[in-house]
Amino acid sequence: MKKLLINNNVRKLRFLNDEMTQKDLSLKVDVSRQTIVAIEKGQYSPTLELCFKIAIVFNKTIDEVFYVETPEKEEK
């Protein structure tokens, strides 16, 4: 099976939550700000525990925050 392209709505959700800063989110989920930056850029796929923590902060389910990006070619 090919490696999944996991993307997320963290950046969007931060802005929808009173323009929460990366620092604020990092403090709430107990990681460094650099890790939040890496997650938003798609450079790091967080552990399931961190996914849950982020989803809880935004009061969303995991699939509302993280999703698998399907390449257009495969959809056809």
Binding site: V31, S32, R33, T35, A38, Q43, Y44, T47, L50
Partner: protein
């Protein structure tokens, strides 16, 4: 450049500088005959046993200076300095991957050192190969860390 990247770069520079200076001192003393070189294994045991504490103390001093320098720069720039040494799951994963790389490289270095003995080379070559492998391992591990922080894991 992030704190972790700067830290890795500082580690690379400190390894090169400390090992370079120490090697130069040992070579100079060896050239003037300050060491008893009749027993090669005793000579290298002394050289390595002296190098270990020197290397540890020098690295601690360099890292303290680096941390102070970073904290001063961040304070001057108005950034928060509370999470400089904070380690989270991403840091641990990167550290794990870098350790894996360093183990592979050192193993190859050790095999190369053994090969020098298999080909009946001088005993000095065996220890020099091991030391070079150690330096390359440390540099590669820190470079891998920088790459993982930059490109992602």
């Amino acid at each position: 450049m992030s704190y972790q990247e700067s830290k890795s770069l500082t580690n690379i520079l400190s390894v090169i500088i400390i090992t370079g200076i120490y090697s130069l001192i040992v070579y100079q003393r060896y050239s003037v005959g300050s060491f008893d070189t009749t027993n090669v294994f005793k000579f290298w045991a002394i050289v390595i046993l002296i190098f270990i504490p020197i290397s540890i103390v020098s690295k601690i001093i360099i890292m303290i200076l680096f941390s102070i320098g970073t904290a001063v720069v961040q304070t001057a720039q108005g950034e928060e300095t509370d999470d400089l040494d904070f380690v989270d799951e991403r840091d641990k994963l990167i550290e794990l991957k870098a350790t894996k790389i360093s183990l592979i490289i050192f193993s190859l270095g050790f095999i190369a050192a053994l090969a020098t003995q298999a080909f009946s080379m001088n005993n000095h070559i065996f220890f020099i190969t091991l030391i070079i492998a150690g330096v390359i391992t440390e540099i590669a591990s820190e470079l891998a860390t920088i790459i993982y922080y930059r490109k992602g894991v």
